[in-house]
Symmetry: C2
Subunit: 387 residues, 2 copies
Amino acid sequence: MGDIRDKVAVIGVGCAKFGENFEKGYEDMAVDAFTEALEDAHVERKDIEAAWLGTFSPQAGHGKAGTSLADALKLFDIPITRVENYCATGMEAFRNAAFGVASGMYDVALALGVEKMKDRPGRGLVLEGHHPLLGRGTTAPGLFALAANRYFHEFGIDKTTLAKVAVKNHRNGALSPKAHMQKEVTIEQVLKAPIIAWPFGLFDCCPTTDGSAAAILCRADLAPRFNKDYVLVKGIGLSVTSGRPYNDPTFDYVGFRATVGAAKQAYAQAGIKNPRKEIHLAEVHDCFTMTEILNYEDLGFAEKGKGWRLLDEGVVQLEGDLPVNPSGGLKSFGHPIGASGVRMIAEVTTQLRGKAGKRQVKRHDVGLAHNVGGPGAVSCVTVLANP
Amino acid sequence: MGDIRDKVAVIGVGCAKFGENFEKGYEDMAVDAFTEALEDAHVERKDIEAAWLGTFSPQAGHGKAGTSLADALKLFDIPITRVENYCATGMEAFRNAAFGVASGMYDVALALGVEKMKDRPGRGLVLEGHHPLLGRGTTAPGLFALAANRYFHEFGIDKTTLAKVAVKNHRNGALSPKAHMQKEVTIEQVLKAPIIAWPFGLFDCCPTTDGSAAAILCRADLAPRFNKDYVLVKGIGLSVTSGRPYNDPTFDYVGFRATVGAAKQAYAQAGIKNPRKEIHLAEVHDCFTMTEILNYEDLGFAEKGKGWRLLDEGVVQLEGDLPVNPSGGLKSFGHPIGASGVRMIAEVTTQLRGKAGKRQVKRHDVGLAHNVGGPGAVSCVTVLANP
């Protein structure tokens, strides 16, 4: 395995308003994200040579193939590819676009993720009966709750620790104008919330949300022609394990091998030896509060069993050394599956540029974005940095 | 737009037996194709650094994400991406794998397409209600039959001309040990067959088939280390038009703009000026007999309205100057959607190597593979050549 370090730049990002967008359709949200990204990148529609679309669950003709994006954006007669990889679907659109550019085939490419989760049949998590576990009645909160219970047993934390993740991310989300949830919560509110799947209460779970996000990628050597305010792709790791990890007797359920593997790849490519020190900010996959703590450990920010301490030490707070989910995360933005990974790339890019306004982090030269999905079986990790 | 010319080699290909594989599942067929490709490439499973999976319509847990291929092939802890783009789904797996290799990220990558079309709900063409036209009761034969009727009107051919495509491809298929249909048909049989959608009779339509195919791609400079008998990727074009092309009043219905666009890209990359002379053989998307004739024209093998003459002139026959579908095409192999594009790549590779046995074409230094899908809205064209 080699790398694509410094071959690809992100020259513009865009993000639709995330929320219960009953008044906006799939195509409307894609247009919102694309229009913002075009303006940000200082490119015109005709400069886009190829596109990758991330949509997890097509509905009513939207998102099955590249034509969905062609029609939404009036981007005709160019290559447009749909990718799908569970909750990493959005970041896969970015990853494949990066390869298209790094290969020398395209100078400027679009990665766009969009997903309707509301006003559709089977609102929320729709796996269309394909998933061997969910097909038997297990739900995403239930699957991740098992990890929380095991972690509680192994390392002695309780619901109060999980609540600190919710409080932190909702605080950041209150500073994010595009977030679905823009209000702070207290520890007491989190602990008193109705239980969804023990130990998860309502505020331990990300909401069900519609959204879209876009990134415009460019050959690094050409980037300054369009936009001097660009960031560079340093590494992208993707690791896929079994879709039936729970059948593996060695699976300890206090972390996800896919995240460890994806991070290992991305760090090797980016030349990162000590992520806790060298990563300045991270957008990680907090589908549930417990997942964020597992991510700290799987991404090498803390030792196994000690990730939760970063919350008490203030490390991962907006003012800390390694702010995690400065955007508010999935907790505040929800998780429109195809959109999330691209939204994270957009937030990291904005932070690296120092343009995140009230939620700007202090050290902002190296940022990370991370998804983990399916039954903890697919993870994608991207490292971006200032030139 | 640039190119990836001569950066990527195909070092091995594999193909499951296509057919009504009631005794073989999705994973079984993937294993068959993969095992053959590994042996052909002289690589081991551990050498595969990344994979792309083409499956159009996931069913019962199979094909939704990279995990499906990980579990089938025991390829764990590497990147595996699912792509989907209507009937070009398989060739998209190949295209994105080629970008992964050309980018410098991976030395050796797998592209594998697999699709179950039989023994599943909604046998055959399953669009899950997503398609705006098919959702209203239109079928694939009906959509392409409209093009045939229009072509008859414009250029004066009739069902007898279409029948020549069926006779040619079934003759080639009879020489293909992996084909679903391995028997010759006569013009009389084709003309007497029951009508599916006028003017298409049974033999004007490709069958409903299960199948899988695999290709192993490698950095061109490293290819000889694994296998001296490799071929090179010269160009890959992909063009996507509106998913509602029939709403376009300028759409003349005697050809597909997506194919014209994809071919233009691929030829520019490969430096091909006169495809009729410079392409030695082609595997093209003959989902229906009429489609193959339209492809001749859209791919630049003949002028608009004159493609059918290539059949009478013997050009596209196995013994001709530009044999088309030497494998027997979709007519003989059926169209397991995720598999077809990769199967074409496998056939072109085998022909270029001069190892196609009884169906070997005489000139075999430059070959082309082509898909067109959706409502004629997505097309992918790949040009391969000997070093």
